[in-house]
Amino acid sequence: MSRTELLRKRANELLSQGVVKLVLGYRAGAQDNVAQPFFATTPDQTAELIFDSTCSPNIANYLLKVKNIGRVAVIAKGCDSRSIVVLLQEKQIVRENLYILGVGCEGVVHNGEKSVTCKACQYPNPVIYDEMVDAPVEKTTPGPQVLKADDDFDRLTPDQRWQVLSADVARCIRCYACRQACPNCYCPVCFVDASTPQLLGKTHNISDNMVFHIIRLLHMAGRCVECGACHRACPMGIDLMRFNRRITKIVRERFDTSPGVDINSPPALTRFLPEDSQEFIK
């Protein structure tokens, strides 16, 4: 049986046996574009489920929509499972209400090629699951590595770096697709939507755009699992992963941890260890 067939079979069984109320997965999207997150509530609907390289939205994002309906089965690839871990650690969802159907992932497609995040993926298989639908896939990328693009960027002077980032961020239309596509961006009121008082200007001048991206990034430090959902969601093609890779690298170097990998290891910025570097205390 193919992976999709196995997936449909298990999803069907879980629903018919009443183990779960709903199966959260994907169904075919528009043309060869992006698969659509799909909520199967009856056994027949599981026939629509798919899993392939178009399944690029981070499915953990949708767990927040269905967290109050009882036990939910969720089809999770590596990065999705890491986001689930972060959401569990942050107490946004409850483990008992989840049935994680793990799938190994060979990478998802973005603009006709393998997504930039998948090319450097360290966790193609789920880090947490109730059962694997199929055999795990083999990890094809070596350990964390510095991309040539980042290396080149690092060689620039601070002014040049600022110019590169400004030119990219100036194109932001503030549609907030990045924020909405991110499972870890779940604040009931985002700082950009605060209106009494208003915290951020609504015009598209570069400082407002930059403040939005930098603050979002700071909020992501130690939490971003580098799934790339925001990067792929951006309708303007802004290189958001450039920012994300940087914060992940800093967190990894300073705290020797990667978010969402180990449920028992608290997020870097929510814990204190005596050996944390403290050179900022003068």
Binding site: A30, Q36, I173, C175, A177, R179
Partner: protein, 339 residues
């Protein structure tokens, strides 16, 4: 109106002449696709991507427009007048969309002066589509990839040369000293037109949709349809006809400026009242609003559906939502109601 044959050389000369004294904008290469930019040479024009990442609406309705400045004493300082602009290579769907926008903003006795002066200063040189993208569906709505609505001049590439058809007097002036087109070219172009139209298979009965949509207001389908929606504003901001805006004042060192910025019905803040009450508090009511607006509300307001079939909301959606599937589903429900 006049129809002429324009060779590549003549087109280059025409554009060079225009570039020398007017701001000319065209789709240029940008990050693997095309997007609008001011051009200084014909070579920059890039029409291979079928359509540009962003629509042309920003040229008459910018995403952030300075409405006025005023100082401490309240004296308004009106911004500088805007320049003549030519949009070269605009696709028929986007030109139609500008016409739709014009209907909203420019009306007898209650015109928006900011949009109106931009409309008046804008000349549209369209390029007919001889092929479609997988997300194109203009024909499904009764439009054509060769339509002239909203344009001043339409160019169609016919075997290496361009058939140029004037649509308005502005367009006719551009063709002043060119030789008229003969029957053969017009016949070849008709063949191209039916070929490209045949690439789009769906047909939507939009009249039926607009007639029955009000009855679906309380239907449970919106809950189901909106489940996969993440409520970002990508669809509305990239939509060539979405035109909601917010007005915001910014003050710095005693000087204030009033801006008009795009807003989106997909945002929670959009419909929140000062009291805190939000009539569109959930995802499904916001999703419904977008569909109602495209196919029903605007027909009531200006007599036009405000979807032109450009497909940008499909390719921009981070959740793979396809407006064609939504329309088809709504039509299926409507058909079921009649029985």
């Amino acid at each position: 109106m006049k129809a002429c044959i324009v060779t590549r050389n003549e087109l280059t000369q025409l554009l060079d002449r225009l570039i020398s004294h007017v701001d000319v904008y065209a789709p240029v290469r940008e990050k693997g696709t095309a997007n609008w930019a001011k051009i200084s040479s014909v070579d920059e024009v890039y029409l291979e991507a079928v359509n540009s990442r962003e629509p042309a609406k920003g040229f008459i309705f910018p995403r952030c427009e300075l409405l006025m400045r005023f100082d401490k004493n309240g004296n308004p300082i009106v911004p500088a007048p805007i320049q003549e602009q030519i949009l070269f290579g605009i696709r028929p769907c986007d030109a139609r969309a500008l016409k739709v926008l014009e209907r909203f903003f420019v009306q007898d006795g209650k015109s928006d002066p900011y949009v109106q002066r931009r409309v008046e200063k804008t000349t549209l040189i369209g390029m007919a589509c001889n092929r479609t993208a997988p997300t194109c569906f203009c024909f499904a709505l009764g439009n054509s990839p060769h339509d002239t609505e909203g344009l001043d001049l339409l160019l169609t590439e016919v075997e290496g040369v361009f058939l140029a058809e004037a649509v308005t007097e502005k367009g006719e002036k551009l063709l002043a000293d060119l030789s008229p087109a003969d029957e053969t070219v017009l016949r070849k172009r008709a063949a191209l037109k039916s070929k490209v139209e045949s690439e789009i298979n769906e047909r939507f009965d939009v009249k039926k949709l607009q007639g029955k949509l009000p009855q679906l207001f309380k239907h449970e389908v919106w809950e189901v349809l909106s489940l996969s929606c993440v409520n970002c504003g990508a669809c509305t901001f990239l939509c060539p006809t979405c035109h909601c805006f917010d007005v915001t004042d910014e003050t710095m060192r005693g000087k204030s400026a009033r801006y008009r910025v795009w807003d989106s019905c997909q945002f929670t803040l959009y419909s929140r009242h000062a009291s805190g009450h939000n009539p569109r508090f959930d995802s499904s009511s916001r999703y419904r609003n977008r569909m109602m607006d495209k196919f029903y509300y605007t027909t009531e307001q200006v007599g036009l559906i405000s979807c032109v079939g450009c497909g940008r909301c499909i390719s921009a959606c981070p959740a793979g939502i396809d407006i064609r599937q939504t329309v088809a589903k709504l039509l299926r429900i409507i058909d079921g109601m009649g029985k």
